[in-house]
Symmetry: C2
């Protein structure tokens, strides 16, 4: 959290336009304007921080968190204060400035998933991080302030409330049933008709979706850890996500959207305790969540923590299923 010093009142307004097209620091040839790259897929074998990459990951130039921890936690009257520590990285998803994520295709998304996997595996070597989030904001209303398509990775030393709740619910089910909660839910969702399903992945509108046209893509074969994904699975997942994004782009007329990866935290199962915790790798199941931003968060949601979703998930799934995707 920065303290806003040195800013003028006008700096606090709502940004109503994406930053202009000129001089994009994410475009090929502009590599020196980002911090040195942490990972890149360079099919032509070019040198780091030069053009030729397909996907490129760099530290965020204006990170939300710093890697140095500074002062410890302290009290301020009745409150607690701690320094924001974490990693914040940017995945530049394509060399093309204007390419829409629905047009990346299976191979484009496959490369992005490989970059996510590489960064997850590297970041979990830092034992301070209790969770690593991967997410993408597309379009201004979904929080994207830069047009060039990118996703973000954040690693933080705390367990986010949402993940803690999901892990606890999954664990409770597993301890009672000795089965993965998500595997059970996927079996139920498969009886309905997913939007598209392949041998490896199911794309479906979750029951009690919080947002209109909220969708999930989950592996049918159990897996708690996205970072264990294989290259062929990356391609199959890319096919499923491309198909969904093309349908959403057509039916919802290029909606702003958020894409999240929800996967088990680095410590799950805890390192060094493989035997004791082996079963626990069966109590979580990773998935992608795709949420088009079709309505704004309003007072009721804020006041309650409830979500009002005017579109039944079955209607959303049928609407997307019945539309023709691009070729």
């Amino acid at each position: 959290m920065t303290d806003g010093e040195g800013r003028r009142p006008g700096d606090f307004q709502l940004q109503r336009e994406e930053k202009p097209l000129t001089a994009c620091p994410f475009c090929p040839g502009e590599e020196r304007r980002t911090p040195p790259e942490l990972f890149a897929l360079r099919p032509d074998g070019s040198r780091p921080n030069t053009p030729g990459w397909q996907v490129r990951v760099t530290p965020n130039k204006l990170p939300t968190f710093g890697l140095e921890s500074g002062e410890e936690q302290r009290a301020e009257g009745l409150y607690d204060v701690r320094h924001g520590v974490g990693a914040h990285e940017v995945v530049i998803e394509s060399p093309s400035h204007n390419l829409h994520p629905a047009a990346f295709g299976s191979s484009g998304w496959s490369a992005i998933f490989q970059a996510w996997r590489a960064r997850l595996l590297d970041l979990r070597r830092d034992f301070r991080f209790r969770s690593i989030m991967v997410f993408k904001n597309h379009g201004l209303e979904a929080g994207a302030l830069i047009q060039h398509s990118h996703s973000q990775i954040m690693a933080v030393p705390v367990m986010p409330p949402r993940l803690a709740i999901e892990l606890a619910a999954s664990r409770e089910h597993f301890l009672r049933k000795e089965r993965c909660l998500h595997c059970d839910l996927l079996a139920q969702e498969r009886k309905g008709e997913g939007v598209v399903s392949s041998a490896a992945f199911l794309c479906y509108a979750p029951f009690a979706a919080r947002h209109p046209f909220e969708m999930r893509i989950a592996p049918l074969r159990h897996g708690h850890d996205f970072a264990a994904i294989s290259d062929p699975e990356c391609r199959q997942l890319g096919t499923a996500l491309s198909d969904l994004l093309q349908r959403m782009r057509r039916v919802l007329r290029d909606p702003p959207f958020n894409l999240l990866l929800v996967t088990a935290p680095p410590s799950h199962p805890p390192p060094g305790k493989p035997d004791q915790w082996a079963s626990l790798s069966h109590d979580f199941h990773w998935y992608l969540e795709i949420v088009p931003r079709l309505q704004r968060q309003a007072g009721f949601d804020q006041a309650t923590g409830f979500f009002l979703n005017p579109v039944a998930p079955a209607t959303a799934a049928r609407t997307l299923r019945e539309c023709q995707a691009d070729a």
Copy 2:
């Protein structure tokens, strides 16, 4: 939750403009286009559902919930389903179509608070309702789809997660300290400089605010129940809120905003148990929350449940305090 039947794909898009100005059902002379009024302040003694009102409350024509309960809770595989039951009302805050809430003045807001109070007292007579929320969306980005200034009241038979968490934290503090948590926090906040403070209310940027320029207005004298507010207190609260909205409008250039009333639920303390629960009226403290929408909810918030606030609350408070309000 409606099921979206009969809608076309185009109906699902993000609404990018407020509904047009013509033929506003909230304007004087259009009273027949709303359901019959539940409450109105009519200083000139005019008849119900005719012009002459200052504030007018009607059932929402397109309610989120119905008052009839229909089917009971049932299982659908691993899931639970229950019918949406609740009251959903609209408070038309002014006869003037274009008047900005920052220009309502102390008397305008005082009338609105009297309407809220009257509806809270009436709705809590329905013992099904475990919570009653009052909120206002101003501007399209804050979820207002109709321009004519209005707030909304929703009463539901469930305890919202946010309120449950706040009540539990307040109760825990009270049981440990025998003091109201909010009274303790207000004593600490008063040592900083509130934006504006009067004998009765403090307007301040809460510590660890989740959103930039998030503000609260709370009564300095303890009170768990907004509906116990007196007419003179309504006027003083109107003065405090008007002053804040004028400053926000100026500094943040008419931002979209949400305004929430957070007050103890109808059953607090439970009816019929006044002695046993008397002390518990001291374990909650009502307040108004005002949140300008200066940034969009993005992937990180969704993935984690954390909030990233780039403006330190002290900076927000100082910025608003140092600006000159309207006359």
